[in-house]
């Protein structure tokens, strides 16, 4: 008989545990029971629910996944009873299951301070998707919001309320913010900084009563008798383990809560385990996901027979709260006996850093960082790996005024055992092994090891290890574009810009060798176009172009071309449709609606392109750039003008955007879409830049991709007005053009960008590199110099002469043969061509 495993709770850790069991070779009968109505989701990123993520986006698994893997899973029905004699459990709904081994993964709940009135309407917790749904709904009707609790989670919650547009207050019982991590000075600095951002902070406040308000919905009365009116209250005053059930089953629980476990994660009954936040290990509950995952690993190892033991967990954290970097490592408060402390404090810029070192001053015991977390990664490695500190440890946190590199720890100094990604337990050795077995890009390394895929905090270091390892192996990371230029695409772009180079021959004579080739020539043509936007068929540029660009049309398999007029936003008048139809008929072209909401006409011989385009240009059509590494289409949905759900005019926005970015040359083609509401009929989240209308404006998504390796776009910014939206997109594209590699779509560009989405937001929204002004100027030049290439060509008889198959004969190419199919032409197959050649 298969061993029966019953898991109570389907949160992050419970799901991880089940997944690990499924990955093992064990033959088990697994039952999972979750109290929440949905399968496990990513609680760590819960707050992103406010920036537009939906429950589906946060999901870590699905009912189908469990069904496919033979797991019995039930949701929305808590376990209410355990019979340890009969080894069975019963749920609230009356279901009963027997177990051979029972696993508690019940996590914790938000602690609601026992204040009279704490359960009035609009008083909420901050823990589950349902909680956030309530908060969102309540916030819609609110002007003022209070967060009770000034710890990590409380500040995360305050950030959310600020973003929801509320006047936000934080009420903390203790004298300072983040008391568990920061000493008094650090905490004061954090307070100043977030007050400067508009959050009102009230410390040393104990609430005596919550009642109906006079001006707002609610009123909080404090011990001193003063009051604060608010429309809503969110409790974030700590968490308590779900251990009632365990207690009633006779398991030992700690004085202040938590199911007591041993080194093997076993509770006081040998058939019962507890993992995750509900467990009490060595007198502590551990409120982070990484230690929960380790406990799950340990519990699984008891079944597979390779029993390991839990050795505790690192509780260091780094976060960005309200746009302020905060980090804490180890004993950040200096509680260790004999410990010494270094402090750096800069009140002008709200920066505070402190180091706690041992008595001998050679090992790091802890650190606290506020306002600037640049040194976090290095310090964490000193701490985790017991690495000897430099002679002057304070050098590690002092600013480098002379421009020299900071004293941080190079990745080479780390031992192989150094844990780089704590979320996924990936060591330096694991990363090195993955590099050895062929992961040579950041994207590959991440997907192979999972490092950097949970909180993302370790990405920078993962990138540094990759580069250093590649270098050591002499894997020449040859990023040269080709044998003619010892530079990357990015280098060439900067050279062209800074030296104002305007043609290929200048560039190759100054910085390259030889004649060039089919790799560097189109690449340089694209860079020149991105920078100066000259007519691409100018004699000095024409030889650089791929045939598609050269003839402003895509070459098809038989040497003929396709014609794709631009149809901005997919909106087209009947008259224009008729023109397309007439042209197609006249030249006997195959017509098809493309996947990009426009019409493609296929099978034009090269000599037919000019007359066809002449007719199209005269009817008001422009080039659709289907042949270029540039903007393809901006798909739209019908939007608020017609659709009963639409909240903005998505068609107008799509047309405006298409007209703005048409013809812009980039490292690869790029696509956009605009949807009129969250139903997302334009599929914006699969585009390089996608825009979804909201009640208040537009949500901007970036770096999506369909094609070979689909990638959902990341939400970049929310509720933007038209002007800000366009400003961000201008900057985004110009930054991509600057830093993208050759033929790199925005999705792979993002996957390889050190620092990822956060970094990109810093650059584009907060202008961290101080280049936004330049980027906007560069885009303005392109927008202002737009000209339709087909119009310029049709107007120039010299250029039109190039569109001939033979320069010395009017004969046609005998390889171009069509046959009829479904009432239209198509290229003849090889056999059909031969047949034709014989009968001709």
């Amino acid at each position: 008989m298969k061993k029966k495993i019953v898991v109570i709770g389907n949160g992050m850790v419970g799901h991880y545990y089940v997944d690990k069991l499924l990955q093992s070779d064990l033959e088990l009968d697994i039952t999972v029971i979750g109290a929440e109505p949905r399968p496990a989701y990513d609680r760590v990123h819960l707050s992103e629910f406010f920036s537009g993520k939906k429950p589906e986006d946060l999901a870590l698994t699905s009912r189908d996944y469990y069904i496919e893997n033979g797991v019995n899973a039930f949701f929305g029905d808590p376990v209410t009873d355990i019979n340890t004699e009969k080894k069975s459990i019963t749920t609230n709904g009356g279901m009963s299951f027997e177990y051979d081994q029972l696993v508690f993964a019940t996590g914790s709940y938000a602690f609601i301070p026992p204040i009279p009135g704490n359960d009035l309407p609009n008083c909420m917790a901050y823990r589950t998707i349902d909680d956030l749904g309530e908060i969102k709904a309540s916030a819609k009707e609110s002007k003022v919001g209070v967060v009770v609790g000034g710890g990590l989670l409380g500040l995360e919650c305050a950030n959310a309320l600020m973003n929801l547009g509320l006047e936000t207050h934080v009420v903390e019982f203790a004298p300072g913010l983040m008391n568990a991590q920061l000493d008094e000075d650090g905490s004061r600095m954090l307070r100043k900084k977030i007050e400067a951002l508009g959050v009102r902070v009230h410390t040393s406040k104990s609430t005596k009563q919550i009642s109906k308000g006079d001006e707002c919905r609610l009123k909080m009365t404090f011990a001193e008798g003063d009051v604060l009116e608010t429309d809503m209250i969110v409790y974030s005053a700590g968490i308590r383990p779900y251990d009632q059930l365990a207690k009633s089953a006779g398991l030992t629980v700690g004085e202040r809560g938590g199911i007591v476990i041993d080194y093997h994660c076993r509770a006081s009954n040998k058939d019962i385990f507890a993992i995750g936040e509900c467990a009490l290990w060595a007198g502590r509950t551990l409120g982070l996901v990484a230690p929960g995952y380790r406990m799950a690993d340990i519990a699984v190892s008891q079944l597979t027979g390779e029993a390991q033991s839990f050795k505790g967990a690192d509780m260091s954290t780094k976060l960005k709260l309200l746009g302020v970097d905060v980090g804490s490592i180890g004993d950040s408060l200096g509680n260790t006996e004999g410990s010494l402390r270094y402090v750096y404090s800069d009140a002008c810029n709200y920066i505070y850093k402190s180091l706690v070192v041992n008595e001998d001053g050679n090992k790091l015991l802890g650190a606290a960082l506020v306002g600037d977390c640049a040194e976090y990664d290095s310090l964490l490695q000193y701490y985790l790996n017991g690495i000897d500190l430099p002679e002057h440890p304070d050098d590690l946190i002092l600013p480098q005024r002379d421009g020299s590199a900071p004293v941080g720890l190079g990745v080479d100094a780390l031992p192989d055992t150094a844990q780089i990604c704590s979320c996924n337990n990936v060591s330096k050795a694991d990363l090195v092994a993955a590099v050895d077995s062929g992961s040579h890009t950041l994207g590959e390394l991440k997907s192979c090891t999972k490092a950097g895929t949970t909180c993302g905090g370790c990405s920078v270091m993962v990138g540094q290890i990759l580069n250093s390892e590649l270098e050591k192996r002499g894997v020449e990371v040859n990023t040269d574009v080709c044998e003619h230029f010892p530079y990357t695409r990015q280098d060439l772009y900067m050279i062209v810009r800074s030296e104002q180079i305007r043609n290929f021959s200048d560039l190759v004579s100054r910085h390259g060798t030889g004649l060039g080739c089919d790799v560097c020539k189109p690449l340089v043509a694209s860079i020149l176009a991105s920078c100066w936007n000259e007519y691409i068929l100018k004699d000095e540029h024409a030889p650089l172009l791929d045939t598609n660009d050269h003839f402003l049309a895509n070459m098809q398999k038989n040497g003929t071309y396709s014609i794709v007029p631009r149809v901005p936003g997919g909106e087209i008048t009947p008259d224009k449709l008729i023109v397309i139809g007439e042209v197609a008929k006249k030249y006997n072209l195959y017509t098809k609606i493309t996947g990009g909401q426009r019409i493609d006409l296929f099978g034009a011989r090269i000599d037919q392109l000019p007359p066809i385009w002449e007719e199209l240009v005269n009817a008001g059509f422009e080039s659709g750039h289907a042949y270029a590494k540039s903007l393809r289409t901006v798909k739209s949905c019908v939007g608020s003008t017609w659709c009963r759900f639409g909240v903005q005019d998505s068609v107008k926005m799509a047309i405006d955007l298409e007209n703005r970015y048409k013809g812009l040359r980039a490292p690869h083609k790029f696509k956009m879409a605009v949807s009129g509401c969250t139903r997302e009929c334009a599929e914006a989240q699969s585009k390089d830049v996608g825009i979804i209308a909201t009640e208040k404006g537009w949500n901007l998504y970036v770096c999506g991709n369909g094609g070979m390796k689909p990638r959902h776009a990341d939400l970049f910014a929310s509720d933007l007005d038209d002007e800000t939206l366009i400003r961000y997109i201008d900057r985004f594209y110009m930054f991509y053009i600057r830093t993208g590699d050759k033929l790199q779509r925005t999705s792979t560009w993002m996957d390889n960008l050190e620092g990822g989405l956060k970094y990109l937001q810093e650059v584009i929204i907060n202008d961290r590199l101080g280049i936004c002004g330049e980027l906007e100027k560069e885009m303005a030049l392109i927008v202002n110099t737009f000209h339709c290439e087909w119009k310029s060509t049709v107007d120039d008889p010299e250029k039109m002469k190039r569109f001939r198959h033979f320069i010395n004969s009017d004969k046609k190419d005998n390889k171009v043969v069509f046959v009829q199919e479904r009432d239209q032409i198509r290229p003849a197959s090889k056999d059909e061509q031969l047949e034709y050649a014989e009968t001709a």
Binding site: D518, L544, M555
Partner: protein, 118 residues
């Protein structure tokens, strides 16, 4: 691949176009006795090259519309369809040694461009 086996009359020079019909580094196609020939004037070395226009990998007459340049010291043309490279002097394909395209001798007589079999 019958198209590429056709050859020009060996004894004759054929006038195909004038010098100013050519643009530096941009190919053109000429028709001589039903044979399609791609012509390139390469600016870097001021030579004119002639190679059969037929791309055997895509079965289409398109080489005149490729990009020319050099790779490891050989002057080459890249097919616009699947990007194989052919040595413009010898016709040798760089990616597949079994494929060699016909090439032709070129001479200029008073600004007129003439071709003959090698």
């Amino acid at each position: 691949m019958n198209a590429i086996n056709k050859s020009l009359d060996t004894t004759l020079w054929h006038e195909v176009c004038q010098m100013d019909d050519l643009i530096d580094d941009v190919g053109v196609c000429v028709l001589v006795d039903d044979v399609q020939i791609a012509l390139f004037r390469v600016s870097g070395n001021d030579e004119i090259y002639a190679i059969n226009n037929f791309d055997p990998f895509s079965n289409a007459n398109v080489l005149s519309r490729g990009i020319c340049g050099d790779l490891k010291g050989q002057v080459v043309i890249a097919s616009p369809i699947y990007k194989q490279h052919f040595n413009l002097k010898t016709g040798q394909c760089l990616e597949d040694e079994t494929v060699i395209l016909p090439t032709y001798s070129v001479r200029i007589v008073d600004a007129s461009v003439q071709l003959a079999n090698n």
